[in-house]
Assembly symmetry: C2
Amino acid sequence: MGKLSELKQVKKCSGAYVLAVNDTINVINGKWKLPIIGALLFGKKRFKQLEREIPNITPRMLSKELRDLEANGIVSRTVYDTVPVAVEYCLTPSGESFSRVLDVMLEWGLEHRKNTIGQNAEEVQ
Amino acid sequence: MGKLSELKQVKKCSGAYVLAVNDTINVINGKWKLPIIGALLFGKKRFKQLEREIPNITPRMLSKELRDLEANGIVSRTVYDTVPVAVEYCLTPSGESFSRVLDVMLEWGLEHRKNTIGQNAEEVQ
DNA sequence: GTAACCACTATACTTTTGTATATCGGTATC
DNA sequence: GATACCGATATACAAAAGTATAGTGGTTAC
């Protein structure tokens, strides 16, 4: 069974479709997961590096969200046995492939903004 | 300037990229927007119809989320001047085109699940 | 020996999000 | 004239998510 027919099978039932898409949404839910993934798309980073690059994130949230992302197989955590220990975070292959989803979101968002500008007439420039 | 180069321009800066993608995420944030969009992908529906089709949603949340989706240009609300008044909700063209994003999410979600099964070994079947 | 960096964790609190339950004004059915 | 359907809104409450602030245990630099 090909990928396409599998897709159609899932779409048959609205409930299953919503559930499956929801799995993906949960990967990036919350305020901080996307900024973290965004930072890691440019390469591996250490904890403090992420803390500095992501404006206003607290270490508590960074720690929690990194643990979530690791549990979901999006981010991998590597501890280097140096003194003092260095910890590096990077995207897993699955996490990297998520950029495909983000690109489609970006593209749709830009289009949608173009379509709705003029109707709302808040700012045109 | 073509769509591709525009895309690259936005991606240049991680901050702008994250902001633009976030716009799209906000369209479906919360517990109920995806189920509502999912139901409307199969055609226009009335308030009570949606309430029946979406398990456990309260009229308060349905009302609120429909207003949000309307404000964001995803859903359009039509009042028919019948007695008693009938109100119909349907996706805007932009809302319909959002299924493109959902499809990519679905596809990635299925792939990701395949990739991470075995590592987690919670269930294989 | 004190000051600063790293990688976090702990506790308390506020804000946001969602739920439960009741109600409203209208119509139509029996 | 009681009951039920439609399209909601109001109020009060509970749960989840996020913030503020401080502290831990180790290391290196001066």
